[in-house]
Amino acid sequence: MNITKTVSLAILGTVLAIGTAGAQTKTIKIATEGAYAPWNFTGAGGKLEGFEVDLAADLCKRMNVTCEVVAQDWDGIIPALNAKKYDAIMAGMSITDDRKKVIDFAGPYGNSPNGYLVAKSSPLAKMPGTGEAYSLSTQQAAAEKAIDADKVLLKGKTVGVQGSTIHSNFADKYLKGTAEVREYKTTEQHDLDLAAGRIDAVLADATAIIGTLEKPEFKDYALVGPSITGGLLGNGVGVGVRKGDTELKKNFDDAIRAAIQDGTVRTLSMKWFKIDITPKG
């Protein structure tokens, strides 16, 4: 036996040892953004909190695994999943066709519409369609008509969105040429700029807006506009997993189904959002 063979066998042995060790420990690393209250955020003590942190703990108990929830910046959250920095994403991420090209989703475990956050004193506060709901998947014509009605008021205004989100995609498709769209790294940043008066409206998820409205400095602001779902806004919020990780996807799917059936998702949703975001059907 020559040296090359010995060395390669030794390396092979090490690789196998590491491989089996990895399979035995049932620890799943879940990434969240930690800056998207009330879905997930960093609490006063520096700990991750929110709807998804609670739900992750529940799902992991159902899957009989130990979970570690880590924080990861939003704009790198999908590339880092594919680079195997962690195994799953639970970060208020909507299931969209674009994302499905690069990762798989389990779920959805939540579904929430979008809306505009504006100052009550602003002319935008009278946005048409407030309180109405449309789906871009099933009522495309009606939904687009509602969006067009809002565009009259939004003309020449500045709208803030978080970059890399379904809301920035929505703004790119429907608001470009009408309003000036500015992209922020986090929702906290566009909220700050709305409060500073640099932008006229924020386009975001209704649950995130409800979270913002709970802060005392936003008492003179309101959630307006029709609630729109579907189409490029995706079909609910799900757990992102790597393509080909079918076992993990199936485990998450089963756990989510069970959590929806026994009302856990509803309970957690009422606790964090004050509204029920359990996906229907």
Binding site: D75, P79, N82, D98, N169, E183, K185, L192, D193, G197
Partner: protein
């Protein structure tokens, strides 16, 4: 590596180059004026001016530019009523001017030290010689000290210019869509971080390559005394051989 995708990425990111260069050059130009003022304050011999300049350099060189941009943009945004009273809100409302403001303040701190180094490296003999010729005051500064100082400071100033081109990438955090901002947006649409950042990195590399060449040419032009004189070949006259 998907080269067709990288070519498309290149064209997309290229549209951010004007803003990147705009931010870098505007900030460096304004910063140079401020830096000159700070360097002169530092060397004035007046204790108050000296310590003000030292304090300025300490603060802006000692804290990260990212923090400065955040404080100027989001921090000052919280003081809108006060700024409106002072008539400054029109300026601080715009992310572009906040970015220019932060980059200018930052580069001025570094550049003032570069300029001070240049001014202090002017050989005393040359100043003496100029005085012997009857030059003094502003004439001495304009004709002798300043040109020599600029030549001495140029290599370090070239580095500062390159650092500023790269520093503009931080403006993307306050919604400015320069090269890095566009790259981040493209990654969010395609999830192909490696290809997009490779192209973005190459664009910065090419920009900085051109800038270093310009600085080198400027150095060459300003240093005739360091160049070898052109070789003079004396005409050989056949009759004397």
């Amino acid at each position: 590596m998907d080269f067709a995708f990288m070519r498309d990425t290149f064209w997309t990111l290229l549209s951010g180059v004007p803003l990147t260069l705009n931010l870098a050059f505007t900030a460096v130009a304004l910063g140079a004026v401020l830096a000159m003022l700070i360097a002169l304050m530092r060397m004035s011999g007046v204790a108050v001016l000296d310590w003000l300049a030292r304090g300025y350099v300490f603060v802006f060189r000692g804290s990260p530019l990212l923090v400065q941009i955040f404080l100027i943009y989001y921090g000052l945004g919280q003081f809108r009523p006060t700024l409106q009273e002072w008539g400054l809100w029109g300026f601080f409302r715009e992310p572009y001017w906040c970015a220019i403001f932060a980059l200018t303040l930052n580069t001025a701190a570094y550049a003032s030290e570069i300029i001070r180094g240049g001014l202090q490296s002017v050989p005393a003999q040359q100043v003496e010689a100029a005085r012997a010729c009857g030059m003094s005051g502003f004439l001495l500064f304009r004709r002798i000290i300043f040109p020599i100082a600029v030549r001495q400071a140029l290599p370090a100033y070239g580095s500062e210019l390159i650092l500023m081109v790269k520093a503009t990438s931080l403006a993307s955090i306050i919604t400015m869509m320069e090269v890095t901002g566009l790259a981040a947006k493209l990654i969010s649409q395609t999830f192909r971080a490696v290809e997009v950042f490779v192209v973005a990195g190459l664009i910065y590399l090419v920009l900085n390559f051109i800038i270093t060449r310009i600085i080198m040419a400027l150095e060459w032009w300003l240093s005739p005394h360091l160049r070898r004189p052109p070789e003079v070949t004396l005409p050989v006259e056949a009759a004397h051989v």
